[in-house]
Amino acid sequence: MVPFRLLVYPGFLFLFFCAMLFSWLDRRIIARVQGRVGPPWYQPLADFIKLLTKEDVLTTGAHALASSVLPMVSLVSVLTAALYVPVAGVSADSFDGDLIVVLFLLSMPALTYFLAGWVSVGVYSIIGGHRSLLQYFSYEVPFLIALAGPAVLSGSWRIADIIAYQGHTIWGALTQPLGFLLAVVGLIGKLKRDPLDIPKAKSEVVGGPLTEFSGRKLALWHLALDMQTVVGIFLLVNLFLGGSRFLTGLPAFPVFALKALGVLLMLSLASALYARLRIDQLATLGSRWLAPLALLQVAVVLWMRG
């Protein structure tokens, strides 16, 4: 049972499938909003396979070992985090305090992203790396505080317990609407999606830290980012939208899938709605609005618990 959960559902294969599906849906939604058609369903998979077959170029002066290890570290930490995030109530493993481990593992990709810029020596990579670190400090604090809300309310740092708590009360998004919104904003920052794609803004720093990567390594980076999207969305669904519970009697998986697609829709619309922020604007936004509001939300939660 355990190898099946690790490798197939809700493990690697399922995540891979979701990563491709979500990336396609995301592109499709944005395209429709902008009056375009968007790519066919096999596009993300085709992109992935194409990148795997491309030549792997290493720039002069780049650290060979580090640049091949970093994308793997990023991917592995996302996959490890995925073990503890239940999909429709099923997770590969669970223990008391797994939320903290998941949060820690989900911030690993940001650090590897920064290091990727650092080891590949290009000017754009280094600037992009600096930016990703600055961005990390802006979104991570409000994101963590916002995610602490449901945990404090249910009195447990175990994701399964938080889902169960919402099951016999109501959704976290209804008790903490502000916290949910902040968590979505934080997730956008974490995934470096429009409008917070500051570290990889094409018109400013070409490709950011990944400018000098190509071939298999780039494919792994993209896969890690797509999987991070999936895990992040699943996490929000579990913590704020009550996991797979909706009305009693409805099957778990479709409900969970619908909620996940709902969060994805929010992310896609946000990237279609806004222009990219500047790094100092994001820092101001983070410290002046996001972090205080997140603290306010936690204070309200504490008051609610009495």
């Binding site: 902008q34 754009y124 600037i127 500051i198 279609a272 990219r276």
Partner: protein, 360 residues
């Protein structure tokens, strides 16, 4: 703090045409900048001396890919002045009609480019989608989407029937609604405003010093528009406003351009409704008498000037082209001083760089 040198160009996702910037960065702040152009210098002025007057129309149309018609028109006007030929009124109106379509097309294209550069793909797609309407009209009129070849010495190459005119008026109706949408977004959308406000500021005094023309000058409060100031046909009989703002930043330039596009839609409508009857061309002599002429017009990016000297043969002795982009390039080093790396893209797209124009 250590300084990093960041190359922007000759090839960079930000630039649609090759030019090169070396930015000296202190952290994210631009401390110094050096510019180099000339990567697409094609020697058009020299080539003009080796081609006949007729052939030059098509060559000069290729100075710029976006405002091609206005170049050909300005050149034709200079040559017609040398020949002493007067273009029939219908021809003048049709030339102006094409110029105004081109202005809408150019400004929408620019809005798309700057939206893309600040990561606002929705506006980019909307602007380019709406620009397609104008391109279709122009293709329908002249047979070409970008190189219209709509000019000939002595008048216009295309003519309009009444039903054709009604069809265009219908399309302009759609265009009007779409442009209002974009104008609303520029005026009210918050992230777009935050990214462009206070960036690339030029004062009126700097505009005067660097002889800047066009929308960049009008966004800094210099009320200059050759269409109005030269009292030339047909603009002296049409009603239009010249949008002027005083902020001098990229946001003001955005507003000026989109408002100008709105004015141009109204101008197109007026031209179509008051089109005089008669022929569109007049016969011109094959030889051009010796002499010199200067012709100016307001291109989408500002004043275009042609100096043509003839020595009596069938080829011009000298054709000088001054494109508006060249004036804006000088101001870039001042605009780039002390901005953030992230704003370089906004500054560069804010002046509406047409590098092929500047290089010729």
């Amino acid at each position: 703090m250590t300084k990093t040198t960041v190359p922007i160009g000759p090839q960079h996702p930000l630039l649609k045409e090759p030019m090169s910037f070396q930015l000296g960065l202190e952290g994210e702040r631009v401390a110094e900048s050096a510019m180099r152009i000339g990567y697409v210098h094609r020697g058009i002025e020299r080539l003009c001396q080796e081609r006949s007057y007729v052939q030059n129309i098509y060559l000069l149309e290729r100075v710029c890919g976006i405002c091609s018609h206005v170049h050909a028109t300005t050149y034709s006007r200079a040559v017609e002045a040398l020949m002493g030929v007067e273009v029939p009124p219908r021809g003048v109106y049709l030339r102006a009609l094409m110029c105004e379509f081109e202005r809408i097309h150019s400004h929408l294209l620019w809005l798309g480019v700057i939206a893309r550069n600040i990561g606002f793909d929705t506006i980019f797609n909307y602007a380019w989608r709406d620009r397609e309407i104008v391109l279709d009209i122009m293709e329908d009129l002249s047979g070409g989407r970008v190189s219209h070849a709509a000019n000939t010495l002595g008048g216009s190459r295309f003519d309009l029937t009444d039903e054709h005119r009604d069809k265009i008026l219908e399309q302009l109706q759609i265009m009007d609604a779409q442009i209002q949408l974009l104008l609303g977004a520029v005026e009210h959308e918050r992230t777009l405003r935050e990214r462009t406000r206070g960036i690339g500021k030029l004062t009126l005094e700097q505009i005067h010093r660097y002889c800047v023309v066009g929308p960049v000058a009008r966004a800094s409060g210099l009320d200059i528009d050759l269409r109005r100031d030269r009292h030339e046909a047909p603009y002296d009989r049409l009603e239009f406003a010249v949008p002027v703002h005083t902020d001098g930043d990229v946001w003001a330039r955005t507003l000026v351009r989109v408002q100008e596009a709105v004015e141009s839609v109204s101008l197109c409508r007026q031209i179509l409704n008051s089109l005089p009857e008669g022929p569109v061309t007049t016969r011109v002599p094959r030889r051009v008498p010796a002499g010199e002429a200067i012709s100016r017009s307001e291109a989408p990016r500002g004043e275009v000037i042609y100096y043509v000297r003839s020595d009596g043969s069938d080829k011009p002795a000298r054709v000088k082209v001054r494109t508006p982009t060249l004036t804006a390039l000088v101001t870039l080093s001042e605009q780039l001083a002390d901005v953030q790396m992230a704003d370089v893209s906004v500054v560069l797209s804010g002046v509406d760089l047409c590098i092929a124009c500047a290089d010729r």
